[in-house]
């Protein structure tokens, strides 16, 4: 008989598959590695179109697609208390011990963390992005974050820069924040078996073509590099609103044969695009971590990137050339990269990346965070309310009222549907033997009464 799982984790976020991106990938890989370590992981997210209900993914990862409508940018409509019944149901059914929320922009995450705290569960939060302080949107976002993080047990950030940013925005104590970087699936991102010839140097760019990712910088940099180096060509993968500007640039400088635009590249094909190149160019204006350059380094490409956010922390100095987010500085950086290109060995780079970054390592470190969270003492309602009062003159009192109401609603729910009435779901472990999947055994208790 398999031993019972050591920890039972609920990952909550608005962002999960079938949507594709950094946060989704992070949650998926982390969950898979935690499952391999013997823990039980359940993911909760909102329904995507027709995909609603319970689904099982690889390794027995159970995903609840809760039928709440997303409203803007894939986040659930914020009803504050609306998700309390379903969150309570899931927490009790799966006998969860730790709730792990992802991404500050996810309303479902904040609501679930609030309800989990009210019901006495241990809570961990991971922040994946950097945010500003000055504009209206950021100010409100930071206030919500302050409320959410006032009461959590532990927090995780993906880089030291991100940790500084989160601590400043939320007023959280730095002692509670752990730094665990993202990782890359080095088994999937391998260099090409035969390195492309260096007669023509190929520079690869794969990113969403939006302002934040520095698409405007590309428009300045590409013609200049093409003018200085006749043997350089560019491959641009990705789509977005700035696509039009890049097309215009191609037309204006007649670079149709030197700049290839691939359009949106599905993640499964990213590796095949990367291995055609020698240099990877990242022009983001802000980045908490940047998994894209990890993927490029894992494929043996030399990286040229803007020195923003957490990017300098990601790769060793000999694998990356950094530049300010300014076209001239970036052109200089590309020149330097081209000059050191002959000394770069893709296989050796890949092997170094394998040792530096792995999801198994991330999972082990996250496990330590969970253990630390479980050791945090339980606080009753009054102690928790005192933490909220320090959030601000008006905001503190508002947050206290929100939490008191949440507590009362929880008690009311307990009256209407007692905890014992929520039946526990059996743990279903997938075993692959002769192509058959389900393993489920149920033992009927001796409650037989002869009528």
């Amino acid at each position: 008989m398999a031993e019972p799982p050591k920890l039972r984790v609920l990952m909550v976020s608005d962002f999960f598959f079938p949507n594709f991106g950094g946060v989704e990938n992070h949650i998926y890989y982390l969950s898979q590695c935690l499952l391999k370590l013997g823990h039980k992981v359940v993911v909760m997210t909102h329904a995507y179109g027709n995909r609603s209900g319970v689904r099982y993914m690889t390794g027995g990862l159970k995903v609840y697609y809760v039928p709440w409508r997303p409203f803007v940018m894939q986040t659930t409509f914020p009803t504050v208390y609306g998700t309390l019944p379903i969150v309570r149901s899931i927490l009790r059914r799966e006998k969860i011990t730790v709730v792990h929320g992802h991404q500050a922009f996810s309303t479902l995450c904040h609501e679930a963390l609030m309800h989990a705290r009210t019901m006495g569960y241990k809570v961990v939060f991971t922040d994946h992005s950097l945010y500003g302080f000055a504009d209206v949107g950021s100010i409100h976002m930071n206030k919500v974050l302050q409320f959410s993080l006032a009461d959590i047990d532990q927090a995780i950030c993906v880089s030291h820069t991100s940790k500084e940013n989160t601590v400043l925005r939320s007023g959280l104590s730095p002692a509670k924040v752990f730094m665990i970087p993202n990782a890359v699936d080095t088994a999937m991102f391998k260099p090409a078996s035969v390195r492309p010839s260096t007669e023509i140097i190929t520079i690869v760019v794969i990113s969403r073509l939006v302002y934040r990712k520095g698409a405007d910088l590309l428009v300045e940099v590409i013609p200049e590099v093409c003018r200085l180096y006749p043997n350089v060509r560019f491959v641009v993968g990705g789509d977005g609103p700035k696509h039009v500007r890049l097309e215009e640039m191609r037309e204006k400088h007649s670079l149709q044969d030197r700049v290839e635009m691939l359009g949106a590249v599905p993640h499964s094909r990213v590796r095949s695009v990367l291995v055609t190149g020698h240099i990877f160019l990242n022009s983001s204006l802000t980045e908490a971590f940047c998994i894209a350059i990890l993927e490029a380094a894992s494929c043996g490409l030399l990286t040229v990137s803007t020195r923003v956010g957490g990017v300098p922390e990601v790769l060793p100095d000999d694998m990356v050339v950094l530049a300010e987010p300014d076209p001239d500085d970036m052109v200089r950086a590309i020149e330097k990269a081209i000059s050191i290109l002959p000394s770069v060995n893709p296989e050796e780079m890949h092997n170094r990346m394998k040792k530096l970054y792995s999801w198994q390592d991330v999972a082990k470190r996250t496990e330590i965070v969970y253990d630390r969270a479980l050791k945090c003492s339980n606080r009753n309602l009054l102690e928790r309310l005192s933490r909220f009062l320090s959030c601000g003159a008006w905001a503190g009192k508002l947050f206290c009222m929100v939490m008191i109401l949440d507590y009362l609603l929880w008690r009311l729910l307990q009256l209407l549907q007692p905890d014992e009435d929520i039946e526990e779901a059996p743990d279903i472990r997938l075993c692959h033997q002769r192509g058959v999947e389900v393993s489920e055994g149920l033992k009927e208790e001796d409650k037989v009464r002869n009528g």
């Binding site: 008989m1 319970v54 379903i86 899931i90 039946e423 526990e424 058959v436 149920l442 409650k447 009528g451």
Partner: protein, 195 residues
């Protein structure tokens, strides 16, 4: 003969089968709403009758003043609505398994009405236990995959019995349609059913 009986606060599950189960024996599974609820519904029906009676008496005895009239109409209407609702109150749902022939799904209401549906054995592809997620809650349900139909057919349309009551019915259905579900459980896992 009752061979198995389970109950919790809301539902009672009764399994009737032959004393010596042969392959052709008919298998009957009932899920009954517990007494408290049934009398609750009867009480509501009684309330409905009372409201109608009150309405008519108010109308005739207290004269035809406007506020009295509207009040009596209000009582009359609510009384009718309560009585209509009581027709929807389910008393019992049953599954009658007739091997090699088919299964009959029956719903018995408090008003005495019984609605039944027969499904021939050839039409059933597979019975499945599904977790249904709503915006508010999550519960288990037993459904059937039917040939030629896109949607799953619920075995228990109105009631939501707990998993421990659904599992023996699911196993019986699998046995009846010939799916050898035992070969699929290669690794058994302990699951202690809590009351």
């Amino acid at each position: 003969m009752v061979s198995l009986s389970l109950s919790n606060k809301r539902y009672t599950y009764i399994h009737e089968s032959e004393s010596k189960p042969t392959r052709e024996a008919i298998d009957i599974h009932h899920v009954i709403i517990n007494g408290g609820r049934a009398t609750g519904y009867a009480r509501r029906r009684g309330l409905g009758f009372f409201l109608v009676f009150l309405a008519s008496s108010m109308y005739f005895l207290l004269g035809k003043d406007n506020p009295v009239r509207t009040l009596s109409w209000g009582c009359l209407l609510s009384g009718f609505l309560v009585m209509l609702q009581s027709r929807k109150f389910v008393n019992k749902e049953s599954v009658i398994i007739m091997p090699t022939f088919g299964i009959q799904l029956e719903t018995q209401y408090l008003s005495g009405k019984t609605v039944s549906r027969f499904i021939p054995i050839g039409k059933i592809l597979k019975p499945v236990l599904v977790e249904c997620v709503t915006p508010i809650t999550c519960y288990w349900s037993l459904s059937l995959f039917l040939r030629g139909e896109e949607q799953l057919t619920l075995v228990f349309k109105e009631l939501r019995p707990p998993l421990k009551m659904l599992v023996p019915i699911w196993k019986a259905l699998c046995a009846a349609i010939g799916t050898d579900h035992q070969s699929e459980t290669l690794a058994e896992e302990e699951y202690n059913v809590s009351s």
